[in-house]
Symmetry: C2
Subunit: 253 residues, 2 copies
């Protein structure tokens, strides 16, 4: 999923600096320009001629890159999903521990939203319901893959004793809602830094579901017993063999 | 804020059943019809004539209720805020305990989203950025009041020792994101019931921040000491006089 460009460079490299001979960068420039225009004038209020004008192209030149206005909308959404997958999914999906994976995923996704990457593309990706038929099915399937990735990570974390039992689907959508809603309220010049948002949201979300790896040993209790607490419900610390090995790994790092 | 109609009846009463002589119900019907049309055709793609046709009115008849297309958009958003305030805010703001207030608020807000109240109005309220000038300022101020209500409730809950210290602004937006994102994924015929969503989301959100009112008394510790645990950090149980009186109240119910 990661191409020769790093996601960082993909996000920060100015489109203007791309060589005109680089067709991928050219297309990105068109998609971001079109997204801005659609954001300002609405999809129905934006003509192919408007987009061509904004991109410094003739209508024929624009049709070299896209076949129709609906295909342009699909390409903007696909581009949004590409950036998301490169900047978030590809960065975290190989993390073996599911809880660490979920926490890293929340961080990467929050930073993608707060880093000011094209807000217009994000809005079109999440708010535009104009796509129909196959195009809509295609984008929905890409979004669904992210939901499934989150659900499976929650399920795995429950199995490994990292988090207490919960409904993985509700957890996945709660995670997504918290993180994706940020584009609606975050202001780069506001009082809340992106690091603070990451820290607070990770804490809000995970502190209530994480099973502590080291149960607080009650005083005057022999150590051997403290490692095998009685089962008193899903919220009690219940270290498993896997959780212990994870802890051992973490200590080694 | 609560009018003579209960919010329940406002949500379930079919618009068609309203007497034509009831101008409020007539306006609601127009706003919901216009929202559906804008949802399907886009704001720019919907003309005043389209809306008049859909409502069975002449253009002049429609202009009796609204002055312009932008004013119609503002009225739809104001109507969305009215329903929200009657069904959520007015139902919970008099609850004295801030944590109970926040939990009830989450439940009412989730049910407003899942109960299938006009999704089109919700979408226009949260996704339409077409309003400008005073109209935009007005709607943003109404939305901001809800954020402030949540922030103050979190602050109060922290002061009362109901929840551990956290950033009230991030908590308010995390709460809103979890709850409002539901309109994007919830399907009434899906596998998740609205009661399950309420329960799971309340648990996800509050179990990690709530300070247990009854700290688990370690064995062999005298009872008097168990009620005054050492201060070992914000996540430790720290019952206050207020929290204790709340507990006593709850036991009486």
């Amino acid at each position: 999923m990661v191409g020769p460009r790093s996601p960082r460079s993909l996000l920060t490299e100015p489109v203007e600096a791309a060589k005109p001979s680089d067709p991928k960068a050219r297309l990105r420039g068109i998609l971001e320009g079109a997204a801005k225009l659609i954001g300002a004038k609405g999809y129905e209020g934006t003509s192919i001629q408007d987009i061509a004008d904004a991109c410094g192209l003739t209508k024929a030149g624009l049709y070299h890159h896209i076949q129709s206005k609906e295909q342009l909308l699909l390409k903007i959404q696909d581009y949004g999903m590409d950036v998301f997958e490169e900047s978030v999914l590809a960065q975290v999906q190989s993390i073996p521990d599911p809880l660490e994976r979920l926490k890293a995923c929340m961080e990467k996704n929050i930073l993608l939203v707060t880093h000011g990457w094209s807000k217009e593309v994000t809005i079109i990706l999440h708010e535009h319901a104009t796509l129909t038929g196959e195009a809509r099915t295609h984008i929905n399937a890409r979004k669904k893959r992210y939901v499934t990735f989150l659900e499976r990570s929650f399920e795995e974390a429950i199995r490994m004793g990292d988090i207490r039992p919960l409904n993985p689907t509700v957890a996945a959508f709660a995670f997504l809602g918290m993180v994706l809603w940020i584009y609606k309220w975050y202001r780069p010049d506001g009082a809340l830094s992106e690091d603070l948002i990451v820290r607070e949201m990770q804490d809000l979300f995970f502190s209530g579901i994480e099973i502590p790896t080291r149960p607080p040993a009650p005083p005057r209790r022999p150590r051997a017993k403290a490692l095998r607490p009685r089962a008193t419900g899903p919220r009690k610390a219940k270290p498993t063999r896997l959780a212990n090995s994870r802890r051992a790994k973490q200590r080694k790092r």
